[in-house]
């Protein structure tokens, strides 16, 4: 940029200031930054669901499948009424140390199962679909808000 200077001193000072050598940064700067970078990386890795080796992804998929299979099987057995008594018996055993709490939990669970069985399967499926839609809408809105905030932050950085 060509600049107009009123006198020789201004011009000379401009030249001298531009020619000033850089000051040596303290030796602590790089270790400090690298420590923060490593901490950020650790945090990012801990929260990342996409990252990871194929074996890790496979393990997660297997765990989710197993959980879903157990949930479906238990749900189906309960719906048919086969497992209600033995399952409640087991629950009562788990809560043996806190019997009152165990009984209350069993009563609540029984009420829930009775309530669910009294609902027509079509309505139940609709409620289920509605609950799932609400859940995914919340997750989606959260993800959108996160992306929006992150994008804004990156724009303000650059």
């Amino acid at each position: 940029m060509n600049r107009h200077f009123d006198n020789e001193w201004e011009q000379e000072l401009d030249r001298e200031l531009k020619a000033l050598p850089d000051v040596e940064a303290p030796a602590t700067l790089i270790p400090r930054v690298m420590e923060r970078v490593r901490a950020q990386e650790e945090k990012r890795r801990a929260w990342s669901l996409n990252a990871g080796s194929p074996a890790r992804r496979l393990a997660v998929a297997a765990m989710v499948s197993l959980f879903a299979a157990i949930a479906v099987w238990v749900g189906w057995r309960m719906w048919e009424g086969h497992m209600t008594t033995p399952l409640f018996g087991e629950v009562q055993e788990w809560f043996a140390a806190a019997t009152a709490l165990g009984r209350a939990a069993c009563v609540l669970l029984s009420a829930l199962v009775t309530g669910l069985r009294s609902i027509h399967p079509v309505f139940l499926a609709m409620y289920g679909a509605f609950a799932a839609a609400c859940y995914f809408a919340c997750v989606g809105a959260g993800a959108l808000a996160y992306r929006f905030i992150t994008a804004q932050r990156q724009n303000s950085d650059s």
Binding site: K18, D22, L29, M34, V37, R38, D157
Partner: protein, 182 residues
């Protein structure tokens, strides 16, 4: 070479420039190191784009300037108050603020060269003069841009830069005269 090693090498090649930019604005090594750290953390987030970019230095310098100014504006009321107070006190004592930098610390540079004297004199200027001077001469900003960025009038920017130049001239002259005295 891993990403971390590449980033460390990148930092090593730019750290002095980033630190100097922050130091010349803040005149405080500790603050300048904090600002430099923040600049590099932001650079790490954009390292994919900056890695091979020939304009990475310019990006780092701009971010360092912005963060330095943000830092100063955070403490602005405090520093403008003290700088105005010290100028008023000097005027009350019959001293010109133009000579303040020349009068303080009269003879520490007999062995050093002109650049060191100039750099030291720059650090000694009150923030209200040093910041617009650095932005004008070293960061290439116009008077209007400086006035807008600092939120002060154009006339004040011009006056402060004029005073800073005169103070630096006095300081350099005083040092050169001291060198001539055996």
């Amino acid at each position: 070479m891993t990403d971390a090693q590449q980033f460390e090498a990148f930092m090593r090649s730019h750290q002095n420039m980033v630190f100097s930019t922050a130091l010349r604005l803040t005149a405080n090594a500790s603050d300048a190191e904090d600002i430099a750290q923040e600049v590099f953390l932001r650079a790490y987030r954009h390292f994919g784009e900056l890695r091979e970019n020939p304009r990475a230095g310019g990006w780092l310098r701009t971010v360092a300037t912005h963060l330095g100014l943000n830092h100063l504006s955070r403490y602005r009321k405090r520093w403008s108050f003290f700088s105005e107070l010290s100028n008023d006190e000097a005027e009350d004592r019959g001293e010109s603020p133009l000579n303040a930098a020349a009068d303080a610390d009269p003879d520490p540079f007999l062995e050093s060269d002109r650049k060191e004297v100039l750099d030291h004199a720059l650090q000694k200027l009150p923030a209200s003069q040093r910041v617009p001077l650095v932005l004008f001469h070293m960061e290439g900003m116009s008077y209007e841009e400086i006035a807008s960025r600092l939120g002060v009038s154009l006339a004040k920017v011009k006056t402060d830069i004029f005073r800073a130049r005169e103070a630096l001239r006095s300081r350099l002259q005083a040092t050169l005269e001291n060198r001539r005295i055996p």
